[in-house]
């Protein structure tokens, strides 16, 4: 059990390092181009003509933890990993477009709050947690297994949360 956990932990560390390295080497620049090519009209509509280095852009690397979690969670079928990865990446892409939009909005005078941080913060926190939420949905069979073992199949009400 301990050696299995150690192997899993090492796999997480190594795969994260490799994907992060790939992201820095070419992934980040390529993704900027893809983002502008695919979402260009939508971004232009909200006033974004180039992807500046900003808190939003720094969060584009969220593909890495999402893919690491999806690929390395034990017990998921290959089909679920593959479809989950594709759908998850598509949703992350949409979230990144939205994040860039919110960032632009937060810097404009039309923002709903007095300061840019209060507008940007909810979007940033959701963007940070999105890989976790997507993973929880993809690995829902495993998660449900852990949850059902705990609470039973709707036999008693939740005690909290």
């Amino acid at each position: 059990m301990a050696s299995r956990l150690l192997r899993l932990g090492l796999s997480f560390v190594l795969l994260t390092a490799v994907l992060t390295w790939a992201w820095i080497q070419w992934g980040s620049a390529a993704y900027d181009r893809v983002l502008l090519a695919v979402a260009g009209p939508a971004l232009e509509w909200i006033g974004v003509t180039r992807i500046a280095d900003s808190p939003a852009r720094q969060r584009f690397v969220s593909f890495v933890p999402f893919l690491v979690l999806t690929w390395l969670t034990p017990g998921l079928s290959t089909r679920r990993r593959a479809i989950g990865s594709l759908l998850g990446c598509a949703l992350l892409f949409l979230a990144h477009v939205a994040l860039v939009g919110v960032e632009q909005w937060s810097l404009s005078k039309r923002r709903p709050t007095a300061d840019p941080f209060s507008t940007m913060f909810p979007a940033a926190l959701f963007a940070d947690s999105l890989p976790f939420m997507l993973w929880a949905a993809i690995a829902q069979d495993r998660l449900r297994e852990w949850l059902v073992r705990l609470v039973g199949p709707r036999t008693r009400p939740d005690s909290g949360g």
């Binding site: 933890p65 926190l125 959701f126 947690s129 976790f132 449900r144 073992r149 705990l150 039973g152 709707r154």
Partner: protein
């Protein structure tokens, strides 16, 4: 899957509750910190002092100027994001959304938040070390130890809590569940 079926799936219920707590925290946090800005300053200054104290144990080149921690020619400014508060908020949402008793949740928060803070302190130390001695690798380490591993750290601590605290205290489930 229908809405009713999705609602009866504990995994989807967890994700829904997690998102709800996150929404509450993300809207409430700027409001709270604006009113108690001293708490943020206390957290950033405290983190800077801890980083400096730990660096001083292993190096004579460590110094501190306000929230600026220096190691040799390299320095980092400890800002709000360096205090681990964002990680703690995500972890809090995950613990609160999990269907277990309040005692388990309090244990999770009481142990998990300090563990995440320690991870965070370690992360900044590593970044300072690389910035000072291996600046060519700083960008990689910064991205690796911030965005790339942030959610993995939170997920690890959350799963550790589930397996060591929540499930440890439960009686075995009946067959067929």
């Amino acid at each position: 899957m229908g809405l009713r079926a999705a609602a009866s799936n504990p995994a989807y219920r967890f994700v829904g509750l997690f998102a709800l707590y996150l929404l509450i925290f993300s809207l409430g946090y700027p409001w709270v910190t604006k009113r108690w800005i001293g708490a943020v300053e206390w957290a950033t200054t405290g983190t800077a002092v801890i980083e400096h104290a730990l660096l001083s144990l292993v190096s004579d080149d460590a110094s501190i100027k306000g929230n600026l921690v220096e190691l040799g020619p390299f320095s980092v400014l400890i800002i709000e994001e360096c205090t681990g508060i964002f990680e703690a908020l995500i972890f809090l949402a995950a613990v609160l959304a999990y269907p277990t008793g309040w005692v388990d949740k309090l244990i999770g928060i009481g142990l998990g938040v300090p563990i995440l803070y320690l991870f965070n302190v370690l992360r900044i130390l590593v970044l300072l070390w690389f910035g000072c001695f291996y600046p060519q690798h700083f960008e990689f380490m910064h991205i690796y130890f911030w965005q790339a591993t942030l959610i993995l750290m939170i997920t690890s601590v959350w799963l550790l809590w589930i397996f060591k605290v929540v499930r440890h205290g439960e009686s075995p489930a009946p067959a067929g569940t």
